[in-house]
Amino acid sequence: MKLQLIALLPLAGFLVNGLVGRRLGRAFVSLVGCGLPILSFALAVASFRELSAGGAPLVEIAYTWAAFGGQPFEIAFQFDRLSAVMTLIVTGIGSLIHVYSTGYMKDDPGYARYFAYLNLFLFFMLLLVLGKSLLVLFTGWEGVGLASYLLIGFWFEDADKARAGKKAFITNRVGDAGFLLGMFLLYEAVGTLDMQAINAAFASASPPAVSASLVGLLLFIGACGKSAQIPLHVWLPDAMAGPTPVSALIHAATMVTAGVYMTARLSPIYMLAPEASQAIAAVGAATAFFAATIAIAQTDIKKVLAYSTISQLGFMFVAIGVGAYGVAIFHLYTHAFFKACLFLGAGSVIHAMSGEQDVRKMGGLARRIPVTFATFAIATAAIAGIPPLAGFFSKDEILWFALSSAHGGSAVLFAVASLTALLTAFYMFRLLWLTFFGAPRMSKETAHHVHESPASMTGVLVLLAVGSAVGGFVSIPHYLEPMFALPPVKEGLDSLEKPVVYLSVAIALIGLAGAWHVFGDLRRAESMRTRFAAIYSVLAAKYYVDELYDTLLARPLTWISKHVFLDFGDRALLDGTLDGMARLARRTAGVLARVQTGQLQLYLLLALAGIVGALWWMSHV
């Protein structure tokens, strides 16, 4: 009952707020909208204690949906160590973001609708992480997509924002197609969608007769869509159109981690598929690197954070690719803290700046909004990997396994990951500098209005900053070791573990110093930009990926839709047939209509002829 309640409480919140929230006032909406997720969190903690006491995963079968071929399709929930970590992140950070939203969305006319969507989102995410079978997971997977569409396009009066929501939805659909195909293959090969059974089948001595690489790659396409990996990363930066707490919820703590969670959950498949694992590591590394380079040239505070999210997700997939699943979840966990803190901090900055998001028009905010600054700085240091903050531990482990894992670690992977870590430190401190230091560059009026956010917002920021600072001391890989054994280290590399740690600290500090050097004096930044103008314009345009997709996919599709389906299919074929039939009827009727002259005698004559004809016909046939 407990597990079901964890998922169902937010659903209840969605129903209450969605149906009657508008009439019941803001205090009530806030109470329901925040109270139920917090209750969910409490239940998750209780379940976690139960799990720790008993050791065996908790399983609840809520409902048998269908049964055929001797195989029941159940709506069942499972709470093992991995689900526990995910559920605690989702409900914990999710609740904090709900509380923050009460301050951030205070004056929005869609207050009740907003909280309804937020709760719906949480419900689907919990379905995703608690589901025992792929069926439940997929329901949550799709539902999260729907909820993100609703939230990204929350201010749908603005056509651009509605379009961003659509883009997220459609891009995710592409990934979902791959995910579905992978599920079909799995069902055909294993005969069940229960993830325990699938994992057991692949881990057994005689694995199912299906190419694990093919299944793995298909599922990874789905993960690419949700977790914004190349080539399906394009939706995430645009998804910043939603309210900022939504960005924090969707793009830091929950939705984008779904792909990482799913691949980790089905790790036995990837253990058997070195090719798929290599592909994942390569895609992850490439995504991490390219997103990091783009982030350097962005000027919108939320866009920088969006690309850093993509980049960090790339790191997680590198860890997945080299078989260090526990480490990927570890980074997911630390990332949830500092990225939520960064996004919410950015929200607080935007709040203070009267809606301005361009870092070129900020500067010198450190003294004006000290709490936001302090928390933002801690989170920045955490994501950059400065010890002893949370990001340092998880990123260091990823770097180490990228080099040393016997499951596909290599020097190239390590080099790319290290370079990306350097870029991460650089662009994050650049953001910090441009926003909080230097001379104020905003207009007088905006400067006059700068103010610290209310306690509901800063309190959450402080909590998240504390999490970003000390979260790294909870060793998630160790906690998850009963499920995911860490990959063995390659021969002869053991001695390198310490140097890698030093290197990763050095990288973070070099990034910090570099950003300080360049952006401490904006004239220097300007001269660098002019010197590398060509590269800068490519980066600022995000490698023209959107334009490429537009030319290669969107325009041909629009052309085919217009000329083949609309002009030929719809207009010529369908409309033509119907119009032709109508015209035929009208023409033949036109001939007969001439009889209608108004001459009574003619009518009678014709009636008489008709009767005579009918009588003649009856007597002769």
Binding site: G598, Q601, L604, L605, L608
Partner: protein, 100 residues
């Protein structure tokens, strides 16, 4: 030739005269009278056969026809009156524009 045969023949004759009148004549009033003639031709046939077979259905049906004919005339005459007042003629050709 027995009596029934004769009566049926007369009925048929009345019907035919009425029909011919309706088709040929243009005077609306005459056309109405001819229609009555047709109805009476049918009535005559009905009662003749009713007599012959000794059943009552035919005779009952005649009353029905009377009622319908009365109702018809009750409506037709006022319509005709209005038409005649508007057109100052009883020629049905003049009403052709009523075809709609």
């Amino acid at each position: 030739m027995d009596k029934t045969h004769l009566l049926v023949l007369v009925g048929g004759l009345l019907f035919s005269i009425g029909l011919a009148g309706v088709v040929v004549r243009r005077n609306a009033l005459v056309m109405l009278m001819c229609m009555e003639l047709m109805l009476n031709g049918v009535n005559l046939t009905l009662v003749s056969f009713a007599q012959r077979t000794g059943t009552t259905e035919g005779a009952v049906l005649v009353f029905l026809v009377f009622v319908v004919a009365g109702a018809e005339i009750a409506i037709a005459i006022p319509i005709l009156l209005l038409l005649a007042r508007a057109r100052k003629t009883l020629d049905v050709q003049a009403y052709a524009e009523l075809k709609g």
